[in-house]
């Protein structure tokens, strides 16, 4: 096997590990959010360092592979995809950390009603699912699965778009929930970003496997 193949294989493993790590961060932040578990939230914040380290490592590996092996065609696309996926994953890690920080800063558990009206829980679940799907798509080189992510993002976008109206409405009746509503809005905005990032990742997977640039296509066509 050519040396570059070995290197790319290692890189893939690394990327998958990062994925798993980010996924666990996001899921933990979700658990912390659900159970209002500040300790777990703090763990997420601490572990963010690991994500950052992982990102740096992958970046450096990519740079080395570029410098040493001069990849072209599918190898090049794979590397570029990994580069982008890497920074997207890191962003998702950041988001998980951000959510965790909000939870640490929040004063009281969120009320059931507020959670229900904002539909934040299904939104969160869906975004975790999206991330998992992209990981599977990447590991299995499955573009169909990757494509399925796009539809899920619409669902997130919808909730995100409604969030302002819903919260405004809710606050009219429950002004005491202001603080919680503000936190939830922040979290929803963040989750919307997770959806976007996952979509970006899916696009990169398709780009690498099929060499189609999907980015910004579905938005305008």
């Amino acid at each position: 096997m050519a040396q570059i193949e070995t290197e790319l294989q290692l890189l893939k493993v690394e990327a998958v590990n990062m994925w798993t790590l980010v996924n666990s961060q996001l899921s933990k932040a979700r658990l912390a959010f659900l159970n209002f578990d500040k300790d777990l939230a703090r763990e997420v914040v601490t572990k963010e360092k690991r994500v950052n380290g992982s990102e740096l490592k992958i970046d450096r590996d990519c740079e080395n592979i570029f410098a040493l092996f001069c990849p072209v065609a599918i190898d090049l696309r794979f590397l570029l995809a990994v580069l982008k996926i890497n920074s997207n994953l890191e962003r998702i890690g950041d988001i998980a950390e951000g959510i965790a920080k909000y939870i640490i800063d929040a004063e009281a558990p969120f009320t059931k009603e507020l959670l229900d009206v904002t539909r934040i829980l299904p939104m969160y679940e869906e975004s975790v699912k999206m991330l998992e799907d992209t990981q599977e798509a990447f590991e299995k080189e499955d573009t169909i699965l990757a494509r399925s992510v796009f539809k899920k993002d619409d669902f997130l976008d919808d909730i995100n778009r409604q969030a302002h109206k819903v919260l405004e409405h809710h606050l009219k009746d429950h002004p005491e929930d202001t603080s919680q509503a503000l936190w939830l809005l922040s979290i929803i905005r963040k989750l919307e970003r997770v959806g976007d990032q996952a979509k970006n990742v899916a696009e990169e997977i398709i780009f690498y496997l099929e060499a189609k640039v999907l980015k910004h296509k579905n938005k305008f066509v």
Partner: protein, 252 residues
């Protein structure tokens, strides 16, 4: 407007019973740099030499199929005309060692017995040497033998010699494989300037060179033309698996 200058249709070439170029169809656009790459022995050189009918100089070599320049069949023309229209530059720089730099440049006219007034000859020499970015370097030593030049300069002199005949197409057979990296880069830079006036077809072993210098790339494999496309596309998203394996260094 992009127009086709060289066109092959079902072109085949053999050495005796050894069929080395198989059914090649290709359209080469004017004023472009075309790279021809492929593993050793896949028939790149042979195909190139068919274009200006140098192939038939080898005893036992045959060819068939259509090969046209500006829609005229090359194999209906006299080889001497063809070779005047389609210049060729070889792997090792080969200036005529017994001629001065000046005489090397106009060797094509001398060999063909074409007599020109001195002023015209001077003009051609200066013009050709300027084209290959050699005029400044050698204008004070035009009467010296070419052999004191460096490898890269010699190769540019050979290009000037081909250019002096005002051909339409220039063929290059691994033009830099005998040169060191510095000379190589001087010659490669030249290709970009030459393409304004000529169509360049370059056979090269060096994939990176094909990538660097060409607009379109043809990939030969076992005598077949496997893929022919924009160089950018060939190197980012080749259509054929054999191309992909070759350029990514995975050989079956």
């Amino acid at each position: 407007m992009e127009s086709t200058i060289i066109k092959s249709r079902n072109f085949n070439a053999s050495f005796g019973s050894n069929h080395v170029v198989k059914n090649v169809n290709i359209d080469i656009p004017r004023n472009h740099v075309i790279a021809v790459m492929g593993p050793s022995g896949c028939g790149k050189t042979t195909y190139l030499r068919c274009i200006n009918r140098m192939h038939e100089l080898i005893p036992g070599a045959t060819s068939e199929g259509e090969m046209t320049i500006n829609n005229e069949n090359i194999y209906d023309m006299h080889p001497i005309f063809v070779r005047q229209k389609i210049g060729m530059v070889f792997q090792r720089p080969n200036p005529f060692p017994n001629l001065s730099i000046y005489d090397n440049v106009i060797a094509g006219y001398k060999l063909n017995g074409i007599k020109l007034p001195k002023a015209e000859r001077d003009r051609i020499v200066e013009h050709s040497l300027t084209r290959v970015a050699l005029w400044k370097e050698v204008k004070d030593s035009l009467n010296k033998k070419g052999s004191f030049l460096s490898g890269g300069q010699q190769q540019r002199l050979c290009i000037a010699r081909a250019v002096a005949m005002e051909p339409e197409v220039l063929l290059f057979d691994e033009p830099t494989s005998a040169l060191d990296p510095i000379s190589t880069s001087t010659v490669e830079e030249l290709f970009h300037e030459l393409k304004a006036n000529y169509t360049l077809i370059i056979v090269t072993h060096n994939m990176q060179q094909a990538a660097r210098v060409s607009d379109k790339t043809a990939f030969f494999y076992l005598g077949e033309l496997v893929e022919y496309d924009e160089t950018k596309i060939m190197f980012t998203n080749p259509k054929d698996n054999r191309t992909q394996n070759y350029i990514t260094g995975r050989f079956s």
